[in-house]
């Protein structure tokens, strides 16, 4: 009989880990609270730096899940150590109880609520949206906030990130490259539009990211303004008046835009924190789950039999998440083999 492994979270981390665990001979059980697998990536359009369709990633991961037990619209109700040492009894909201020696937490992240940065006017002014809203629109969901033929579009980096007042001093890592990606995508749709990216620093750490950025300027004419947006207002004709500082020119800047996209940062999942505390799992000071070690044991927790993959421990790109999911599956295999 195959050994159960409970995977909390049906995003790409959970899906990739389930695929690998199945190959290794285990019985993965994915518990996903939403009505579909794929997590955040299932809502995205294209992935940087090669503009890979996000749906291709989801389809690839989904096709190898045939033997995996998937419980959608299901939550973990209760999770406790069993009478046997280092084993767990997991009760799900659908009434299923699972006894397992290994649990993989792949519960991901949530996005910072852009409305908290009140000065940007999300939820107040008609044409202010987030990066997630734009991805959904590009996937085909209607969004009346996006005008038909915008003449000028702005992207605000670091919304809710690197911001002590917003309660999050960490960098969200992927937003800069996402902003560049979305700027390019909008320029492709609206070649006559002026596109502005308002940034603090440009974090372009990955393979081909720097080329991506240079291409955005040279081929697509995206304007990069180094300076924070201080305030957004609405003009009488419904456009947005955006005030910012151009620190490289050393002067204030005011532009009128038809659309403003706020790059909401990835932050920790508060729900994860709740049951993490109940299980005495360490939480790092950035609110994400704390790995046993940030170098050699990043997929392991402080409790035997509990493993991590993906953004539950911190911001990750898609390739990093997939790599970690595979690493976690192997770590679980090693753990269960030694048992």
């Amino acid at each position: 009989m195959k050994e159960n492994v409970v995977i909390i979270g049906g995003g790409i981390a959970g899906m990739a880990a389930a695929k690998q665990l199945q190959v290794l001979g285990y019985q993965p059980i994915i518990v996903e609270q939403k009505s579909a697998l794929g997590g955040h990536v299932a809502q995205w359009y294209k992935l940087f730096p090669d503009m890979t369709p996000a749906q291709d990633v989801i389809d690839e991961l989904t096709k190898d899940l045939k033997g995996v037990n998937v419980f959608l619209e299901t939550r973990v109700l209760n999770w406790e150590r069993s009478l046997l040492q280092h084993e767990y009894d997991v009760t799900l909201s659908n009434g299923v109880q699972v006894h397992t020696k290994a649990v993989l937490v792949a519960s991901g992240f949530r996005l910072f609520k852009a409305a908290k940065k009140e000065e940007y006017g999300y939820g107040v002014y008609d044409h202010v949206i987030t990066n997630a809203d734009l991805e959904r629109w590009m996937r085909g969901r209607e969004d009346k906030r996006i005008p038909d033929k915008p003449r000028a579009i702005g992207f605000v980096h670091c919304v809710g990130s690197r911001d002590l007042k917003a309660g999050n001093s960490q960098c969200s890592k992927v937003c800069c490259t996402t902003a560049i990606k979305q700027a390019i995508e909008m320029k492709e749709r609206y070649p006559e539009a002026e596109i502005y990216c308002f940034y603090m620093d440009l974090r372009l750490f990955g393979k081909k990211y720097e080329d991506f950025y240079i291409n955005a300027q040279q081929e697509f004419g995206v304007h990069f303004i180094r300076g924070r947006v201080s305030e957004v207002g609405e003009t009488i004709d419904g456009r947005l008046q955006v005030k910012a500082e151009d620190t490289l020119q050393g002067k204030p800047l005011k532009v009128q835009l038809d659309l403003l996209v706020l790059m909401s940062g990835m932050i920790c999942n508060v729900e994860t924190q709740t049951w993490a505390r109940e299980l005495h799992l360490n939480i790092d000071n950035d609110g994400f789950l704390k790995s046993a070690d940030n170098v050699m044991h990043i997929v392991e927790s402080n409790r035997p039999g509990i493993f991590y993959a993906g953004a539950c421990t911190g911001t990750k790109t898609v390739p990093e998440t997939l790599a970690e999911a595979n690493a976690a599956a192997l770590a679980i295999h090693k753990y269960l083999s030694n048992d």
């Binding site: 409305a115 009140e118 107040v124």
Partner: protein, 356 residues
């Protein structure tokens, strides 16, 4: 604009405001600029609403102007604040309301600083004892006087003689609200509605039948930043700020402006004359400017007080167009008659902006 979005933000910034028994302290300068405002705040709160409002002639400046112009150090300003609190304590009150918005900011800053640095509070207590043998309790509640009028706005509405409605068209009057910087920008959670979309004046306008105008430069300074105005060489910068605001609000054709700071109505009112002289442009209809009011003056008009008793004759920009819109009765001949009908003479009328 999504009104629900603002409502959601406002709900995050609710403030507990006790309904009675307030210790009132005046502004250094408001009685010179808008002499009716403080008088009518007390008239409305005490005699119309029946509240217990206490003031003593022994109180002083809070030290805010001197502190913000770096004439005195923070410790000195805090000791002056401590003395103010001592007078409140001696009078048996625990709810403190200053008339000046900069004072409100100063008191809140002092209390928050003491909360974070209790050793500083201890030092100030020692300073006060050494200076004048006084001790104090910190106020249990501190609110700006506009918070109180906001809190009682519905009661004022119930006694209203004139709402903020154009009596000819039946449409709500379009009112720009301008909040003093020291009300919310430093401590948003001490303000009704927070710093970005404060509700304290918007709530009054809506309650009294008017419509709030949001325009792109709503949050911009009025020009009374000390460094702009107190430094004479910078006064052009001060006018430029006011000019920017009026240029931005002009397409919305506001009927009036309501403010809650000593300096803001002064500058928004007076600089309209200077802008008219410099550029030939006025922002009201037919050569008039846009009248600017303190919230006490507007509350007084709503309650039916005589505009000249409210001190509106001291405004640079003519208020008569708004009075006519609201249907407020007034005697133009009595405008410059003082107590006992004494002739106060006439101010020189500018040619660049229409005044009455």
């Amino acid at each position: 604009m999504i009104k629900d979005g603002k409502q959601e933000i406002w709900s995050d910034y609710q403030k507990e405001i006790p309904d009675d028994h307030w210790y009132y302290v005046r502004s250094c300068i408001r009685q010179n600029f808008f002499p009716g405002s403080e008088r009518f705040f007390l008239e409305i709160t005490k005699n119309v609403l029946g509240k217990d409002m206490y003031e003593t002639p022994h109180h002083t400046t809070c030290g805010g102007i001197a502190y913000h112009t770096e004439s005195i150090p923070q410790e000195t300003a805090m000791t002056m604040v401590a003395r103010q609190f001592a007078l409140m304590t001696e009078a048996g009150y625990e709810n403190y309301c200053p008339s000046c918005i900069t004072s409100f900011g100063n008191y809140v800053e002092t209390l928050e600083t003491w909360r974070e640095f209790p050793e500083l509070e201890a030092k100030i207590r020692e300073n006060l004892w050494k200076a004048c043998k006084r001790e104090f309790n910190k106020p249990k509640y501190i609110a700006h006087t506009s918070d109180l009028i906001f809190h009682w706005r519905e009661q004022i509405r119930q006694k209203a003689k004139h709402l903020l409605i154009n009596r000819e068209t039946g449409e709500p009057l379009r009112i720009v609200e301008h909040i003093g910087c020291h009300y919310a920008k430093m401590f948003p959670h001490k303000a009704v509605g927070g710093a970005e979309y404060p509700y304290v004046l918007a709530g009054m306008v809506e309650s009294w039948g008017g419509e709030v105008v949001d325009y792109p430069e709503r949050r911009h300074c009025c020009g009374f930043g000390f460094r702009q105005y107190l430094v004479q060489a910078n006064r052009g910068y001060s006018v430029a700020n006011t000019h920017k605001k009026f240029e931005s609000m002009e397409p919305y054709h506001p009927d009036a402006i309501i403010t809650n700071c000593p300096g803001c109505p002064y500058f928004l009112d007076r600089w309209q004359y200077v802008i008219a002289e410099q550029t030939g442009k006025t922002y009201g209809r037919n050569g008039y400017g846009i009248p600017v009011f303190t919230y006490e003056e507007l509350a007084g008009l709503v309650l039916g007080y005589d505009p000249w008793d409210l001190g509106l004759q001291l405004h640079q920009v003519a208020v008569e167009p708004l009075l006519d819109k609201m249907g407020v009765e007034y005697d133009p001949k009595a405008k410059y008659l003082g107590l006992n009908k004494e002739d106060l003479l006439r101010p020189e009328m500018p040619s660049s902006i229409k005044c009455c």
